[in-house]
């Protein structure tokens, strides 16, 4: 018996003429997905309870007296399900017609247009023309607080938003008030979503344009956005996200499901903290200092010039936990090649964690950078305070080689590196404290390069490039490995997956084995200090 206990029992059934075998307890909706059929639905969401109230996922099940809600009906052996039969289609057309009864059809001015489930389903299966002759009821708009605007007339009353706040954020600030067609989602008097930490997710899960992001309001049309799989760069949780980009700018961040990391969600701070990626005034070409002057140059000349100076003395390096594993690995390889030396980083720490109560795997972690664990794993050490400042007294006046990669030195004086025999500054933006740099080399941001971050539990996760690099900016790993190639005369990595496998801490793991979900490489040795107060 014990031998069988962990073997999931399976059930075989027929959906639209196709046999599928699924674990016992699977819903018809999920089983249909496996058979390649998407059953339309509004109220059901994989991350929430299933109230079976939208009545759109009803399907015909042979021998059942009525159509059954596929989201809550479990599969049974030998069941024969028809999602596309006359009965199912007629019913869906009918239910969809009711959805449009009070809907304002203001798609042309609705942000959701193009990614709206009401549009999608009505176009696919609805009636070509409406039959409503009565005036529609009007609710108008409401500011729900935080980043959320409510367009009441568009609401399809799926209660996903209410259930998210009840079940996942567990701070029930939204409710259905009134009943019948007067039902409306509302906040409790003036107490809106302001002050909650995950409310941005209600905008994502709202199947229509009833809940919209103030930040994104009227900014772009959904169909103009390119989507790139990425990892949130704003804390060490490493939420899987998509970058939505247009015009070479990040327009918004959206969570991408990964049940091992962030479920379907992301935090508000992380979601809304993306403008820095779009910040202008970028370093676009390598700069070489000649006395007090900086000369723009090309990479070849910059690297050849730099290699000549590499014997200038012992090296000390400052890196950043915003850099990828590949970048950090290359920085370490360079330092090692130059005889070894200090490798330090600075990082901001929040006073407390913000845990998502209904999905506690996800918390906005205290470390407000994506790759603190990567840096630790590669043997780099943290200096400075919880604001990510200070701690550079020795480095600032070091008289050998000073290498700064990815730290913007904002808190440092213009005299930084004045004593250095060779001061190399790699960054996205110029800095006062880089005035004495002999070489200033332009870096890409994470959004402009491919790479990996190691999150708080040492899960290594890939991200992809969603924006073109400005000018001649390049990823740090590419610059540093090119420098090493020049220095050693040996072939070095020229692709991120090659740069990744040079990091011995990752063992046999490759980009291929990382896939989209990531892999935990080794249990984290560093314990996060105690979590948020009052969990």
């Amino acid at each position: 018996m014990a031998d069988h206990a962990d073997l999931p029992e399976t059930v075989t059934l027929t959906i639209d003429g196709q046999q599928v075998t699924v674990p016992k307890g699977t819903s018809i909706l999920h089983a249909a997905e496996q058979a390649g059929t998407q059953v339309p639905h509004y109220c059901y969401h994989a991350g929430l309870s299933a109230p079976a109230m939208c009545r759109l996922c009803l399907v015909e099940v042979e021998k059942a007296p009525k159509l059954l809600p596929s989201c809550v009906t479990q599969v049974a052996e030998g069941q024969v399900v028809h999602t596309q039969s006359d009965k199912s289609l007629t019913m869906r057309r009918g239910v969809l017609e009711f959805y449009l009864h009070n809907h304002p059809l203001d798609c042309p001015i609705c942000d959701q247009s193009g990614e709206c489930k009401l549009q999608d389903y009505a176009h696919e299966e609805g009636r070509p023309h409406g039959r409503v002759r009565e005036p529609k009821r009007v609710f108008g708009r409401d500011d729900f607080g935080g980043d959320v605007l409510f367009y009441g007339d568009r609401c399809v009353m799926c209660t996903r938003c209410v259930r998210f706040m009840n079940e996942v954020e567990q701070d029930p600030r939204l409710a259905v008030v009134e009943r019948g067609d007067r039902s409306i989602i509302d906040t409790f008097f003036d107490e809106g979503l302001e002050g909650t930490n995950f409310h941005g997710n209600v905008v994502d899960i709202c199947p229509v344009g009833a809940l919209l992001s103030k930040d994104f309001l009227f900014k772009q049309r959904a169909w103009d956005l390119s989507h790139t799989d990425s990892v949130c760069p704003n804390c060490s949780q490493g939420c899987n996200i998509e970058l939505h980009t247009r015009d070479n700018l990040v327009q918004r961040l959206r969570p991408r499901p990964n049940l091992d990391v962030n479920g379907h969600w992301m935090c508000d701070e992380g979601r809304l903290d993306y403008e820095w990626i779009n910040r202008g005034g970028r370093l676009e070409v390598p700069l070489v200092r000649d006395g007090k002057e900086f000369h723009a140059t090309d990479w070849k000349e910059a690297l050849v010039g730099l290699v000549r100076e590499l014997g200038a003395g012992p090296v000390r390096a400052l890196v950043s936990p915003r850099l990828s594993n590949e970048d950090l690995g290359a920085a370490r390889a360079l330092v090692d090649q130059l005889g070894g030396g200090d490798l330090v980083y600075r990082s901001r720490r929040a006073p407390e964690e913000l845990v998502l109560k209904g999905f506690p795997k996800l918390a906005r972690r205290r470390d407000l950078a994506p790759n603190v664990n990567g840096a630790d794993l590669l043997g780099m050490s943290r200096v400075g305070d919880n604001d990510g400042t200070g701690g550079l007294e020795g480095l600032a006046s070091h008289d050998g080689i000073v290498l700064v990669v990815g730290d913007d030195l904002e808190d440092q004086p213009p005299t930084f590196g004045k004593e250095a025999a060779l001061y190399v500054f790699l960054g996205t933006h110029s800095s006062e404290a880089a005035s004495h740099a002999h070489f200033t080399l332009p870096l890409t941001t994470f959004a402009e390069q491919e790479g990996t971050f190691t999150n708080h539990e040492n899960r290594v996760q890939r991200f992809w490039s969603g924006l073109p690099a400005p000018g001649a900016a390049r990823p740090a790993w590419l610059i540093l490995w090119a420098l090493l190639a020049e220095h050693t005369g040996q072939t070095q990595p020229t692709r991120p997956e090659e740069a990744f496998v040079t990091v011995s801490e990752f063992g046999d793991v490759t980009y291929e084995t990382l896939g989209k979900q990531g892999v935990i490489v080794t249990p984290p040795t560093r314990q996060e200090p105690a979590g948020a107060i009052g969990d």
Binding site: V72, F98, Y99, D181
Partner: protein
Amino acid sequence: MAYPYVSDREVRVISTQFGDPEARTLAGAKQRGRYQGLKTALDMSPDAVVDIVKASGLRGRGGAGFPTGLKWSFMPKDYDKPHYLCCNADESEPGTFKDREIIRWDPHQLVEGCLIGAYAIRARHAYIYCRGEFFEATQVLARAVEEAYADGLIGDDVMGSGQKIDLTVHVGSGAYICGEETGLMNSLEGRRGEPRVKPPFPAAVGVFGMPTTVNNVETLCAVPHIVVNGSEWYRQWGSEKSPGTKLFCVSGHVRKPGNYELPLGFPLMDLIDDLCGGITNGNALKAVIPGGSSVPLLTAEECRSCALDYEGVSSCGSMLGCASVIVMDETTDIVKQVRRMAAFYAHESCGQCTPCREGSIWVTRTLERIEAGRGTEDDLDTLMELTAQMVGTTICVLSDSVAAPVQSSVLKFRDEYLALIRRGERVGTA
């Protein structure tokens, strides 16, 4: 003169005390035989009580007519988890006013019925969920419960039997949908009064997540009599499938409206013409709604042969429901009456299910437009299609209840709709 109207053709089992305020006090109630049934039941095993109710053939009086004993037998037989009995006193179906009268005149009959029911299903706590608008009835009931507690009829040691049964009167806030049994349970738990998806059924997961049975007031009130007198005694009335007596709430165009307790199977026309004294002003009969506003209308013709039991009314094309007989004479404006019913459901829909939330108001607005003389013949097809889309697609059957009067009236009284649409003529005045 007795309670508004009585007739010697009635068989009064449950309604014996209507009009007699003496039965409201515990002493008066005991004199009239109340709590005999409880005593008898407590001497039996819970399963034996279930069996006798099963044998009596008693069917639920809340509308669906589900066999009561069978429903009780679905409850788990152990005490692993708390069990609950909920008495449904939310009576809000238009045309229905029997439960209120039972509670007003004979509250101890209901308390006794609840205690026996709780005992039979192994519940240690019973709730009576009263409609929010029942001010007087609730006060009478609360007083009766208080007296019964003081007398040891309710509480830790019911009638010295060692059984613990508590009874709580809970007052709703005035929503029809809280009469639907799972909406009732949500409301009792302090949630929005919204019906739950079944399965799971209440006997498995009910109020507070525990096994629960919901029974109507009248259903529970029949139980003490059955326990005392036996199932065969109850079966002397009615038919094999519809045994016993039933309260009929007659309203509308009759001379003597009110509650009449009759053996099931009683002829509808006898009820109207004889017991109720016929149609007001000697007018002609136009239509009857035999079971509350949720069931299809019957034409005068269909009423002729209609016998008032579950099967009889079904075979005439309607349903017995909760036996609320709404009589409409020739002056009735059917379109207006149907519009009023639709408006009631649109107002009372909880709003969860899209077909019900949107359909009920859409149908209402369409009927309003037809009534205002701005309808088209297409609207009748639209009404039939919309209501068809509302049947069988929702969590509870409130949605179906909108369809019943609309569809039956469009089919049976199409002329009245057409008169309005084509000529702007109202057929009736009432």
